[in-house]
Symmetry: C2
Subunit: 317 residues, 2 copies
C-alpha cells in the first residue's frame, strides 16, 4: 500500500492551482467566548461545489495517465463527492459518470448534471449499485474513483490544512470531521509534518463512530449501524486513510446528534455561515470540552455547506 507524504500534498496543491479556491479563514469573538479558545474556521463550504471534495477529486483526475483520462472516470457517490468529481472533470477535461440510486433526490442529480457530469441511475440496493458501476466501467473503460480510499484523494484533501496552517500562525491543533477518512488522513499528513508539528484530531457522530472504535481496538473495524443527522459522514473509513489515522491522529472525538445540531445552529446564527451538519461536527467536539486543556489555538475545517434549505434539522425536531 502506497503512503502519502507531505511532498505529495504539496505536489497536489501545485496541481490544483487556481482551479480550486484558497478559501478564507473566519473567526468569531462570540464563538471563541463559548469555546474558551481561539478558533480559526477554514471555510471549505465556500469551496467550488460547496465542499472540500473537489481538492481530492481534481488531484486524482490530474494524476491519471493520458489514456485513462481519455476513457473517463466513474464513481458511485451521490453526495458532495459526486458533484465535486463532475466539476473536477470539467476543469481537467475528463468525462465523469456518477452512478446514483434511482430514488436519489432530483436536486442531487441536477447538481451533478449542472457541473457537467453524466448521471446513470441504478437499483437502490448495494448490489444494484455495484453491478451498475462494474458493468459501466467495463463498457466505458472508465476508471473507478473512490471518494476517500486512494492516496491521490487523501493528498488532495490535505491541501486545505496546508493553506490553513500556512495562514494562521502558532496553531496548537487542527480538527476535522471523519467519514471516509480522506480529509482527516490528508490533514494528519500535513499536521504531523509541519514545523513545529500541529496536533490533529478527528470528530465523528455517535451513529457512525467506526474510526473512534477502530482506534480504540487498534485495528480497522468495519462500519456498523450507521445513522446520524450528519449524512455526509455515513461512510466507512477506508484502508488507506486508516494507515495514516492510526498513527498520526491524536484522538477521534465522538459527539451526539443534538450537539451537532446545536453547533450547526451556532455557526448559522453567530457566524452567518450556511454549513451542513457534517461540517459542524468538529465544533460540537470542541464545545463539548473534549480537547486537552493545553490546546488554545484550534483550526477547524468547515467541510461543506450543501444543505436542504427547506428542511433544517432544528426545525425537523
Amino acid at each position: 500500500m502506497v503512503g502519502v507524504t507531505r511532498a505529495d500534498v504539496e505536489a497536489a496543491a501545485a496541481r490544483l492551482g487556481a482551479d480550486v479556491h484558497r478559501t478564507p479563514v473566519l473567526t468569531s469573538r462570540m464563538v471563541d467566548a463559548r469555546a474558551g479558545r481561539a478558533l480559526f474556521f477554514k471555510c471549505e463550504h465556500l469551496q467550488r461545489t460547496g465542499s472540500f471534495k473537489i481538492r481530492g477529486a481534481l488531484n486524482a483526475l490530474r494524476r491519471l495517465e493520458p489514456e485513462a483520462a481519455r476513457r473517463g472516470v466513474i464513481t458511485d457517490s451521490s453526495g458532495n463527492f459526486g458533484q465535486a468529481l463532475a466539476a473536477a472533470g470539467g476543469s481537467a477535461g475528463v468525462a465523469v459518470t456518477v452512478v446514483m440510486p434511482e430514488d436519489a433526490p432530483s436536486v442531487k442529480q441536477a447538481a451533478v448534471k449542472g457541473y457537467g457530469g453524466r448521471v446513470v441511475l441504478c437499483p437502490p440496493t448495494l448490489s444494484g449499485r455495484k453491478e451498475t458501476v462494474q458493468r459501466l466501467a467495463g463498457e466505458l473503460g472508465a476508471t473507478y474513483i473512490s471518494s476517500n480510499d486512494h492516496p491521490d484523494i487523501i493528498a488532495g484533501q490535505g491541501t486545505a490544512a496546508l493553506e490553513l496552517i500556512a495562514e494562521v500562525p502558532d496553531l496548537d491543533a487542527v480538527i476535522t470531521s471523519v467519514g471516509g477518512g480522506g480529509l482527516l488522513g490528508g490533514t494528519a499528513v500535513v499536521g504531523s509534518s509541519a514545523a513545529p508539528p500541529v496536533a490533529v484530531f478527528g470528530a465523528e457522530p455517535r451513529g457512525a463512530d467506526d474510526t473512534a472504535r477502530s482506534l480504540a481496538a487498534g485495528q480497522h473495524l468495519p462500519a456498523s449501524h450507521h445513522d446520524s443527522v450528519a449524512k455526509g459522514l455515513l461512510v466507512g473509513m477506508g484502508r488507506h486513510p486508516w494507515r495514516i489515522i492510526r498513527s498520526r491522529v491524536s484522538d477521534v472525538i465522538v459527539v451526539d446528534d443534538d450537539a451537532i445540531v446545536h453547533a450547526m445552529h451556532l455557526l448559522w446564527e453567530r457566524m452567518k455561515q450556511v454549513v451542513e451538519p457534517s461540517a459542524a461536527v468538529p465544533l460540537a467536539a470542541v464545545l463539548a470540552g473534549m480537547l486537552p486543556a493545553s490546546l488554545h489555538r484550534i483550526g477547524i475545517v468547515l467541510s461543506g455547506g450543501n444543505v436542504d434549505l427547506d428542511a433544517l434539522p432544528w426545525q425537523r425536531r
Copy 2:
C-alpha cells in the same frame, strides 16, 4: 444643516479602529454567471452585532462631548441599530438605553441586553414610544441617537464603502439597500469623492419606496404605506441622508418582495451566507437587470444577517 465629507468618513474610520471588523469581500463564479457581471460582496453581515450599523453607532458615541457621554444615550430602534448602539456603548464606555414596544420579540430584547444595553418597554404605539423616549431622555439627561438622520451616523456607515473601494480595484459602481438612508448616504459620499469616482446606486423594496419616489419628485417625500419582507428597510429616509442622496446617487432601483426572497435564497444556497432579506435587496436589483449595461464590476454591501432561522421567507410562502 451640516454636510458630510470624505474627510469625515476617513476620520470616522480612524475613530472606529479595531473595535469594528474590516469585513471580508466574497465573490462567486456562479452568482456572477447569473448576473452577467463581476460582483464583489462586502460582508457586513459578518460585522460585530451582525450588521453595518455599529459603524455609525460607535462613530456617533465617540463624537459625543465628555459630559454627554457620561450621561449616556437613548434610541428607539428595536432592530439592528438598537443592538449596534448597545455594543458600541460597551466599546465607548457609554450607557445605552433602548426603548422598545412592549410586544417586541423577546429575542430582540435579549440581544440588546446581551450587548450590555438597558431595555425600557413602552406602549406599542408611535405616541407611546415618543413620550417614553422624551421622558427618559429628560430624566437621564441622555442624548437621543437617531439610527440614520445625523452626519456622524452617515459618516460612520460610509466606512464600509471606504474599505470596499480600497480593496477591490476598478469598481464601476457600488449598490446598497436604502431604508433610513444612512448607509446609502455614506456610500455616496465615498463613491462620489473616490479617484476616479465610483457610481453609487440604491435599492429599495416596492413596499417602502419613498427614496425612489423622492428622487423622481425632486423633493423629500414622507414614507407612505410601508410593508415588505425586508423589515429592516421600513424606515423613512432622513433629512440629512436626503441632502446627499438627491445629488450624489445615480439611481434608486425598486424591487418586489419575490425578487428579494429569490436573491436571498441565492445568497444562502450558492454563497452559503446567512443574510437577512434587507441585505438581498441590492442583488435583487442587479439580477433584475436594472443597472446600466456599461457597469461591469459592481460592489454590493451585504448589510446584515440577523434573521429568524425558524421562519425563513421561502418557507412562509
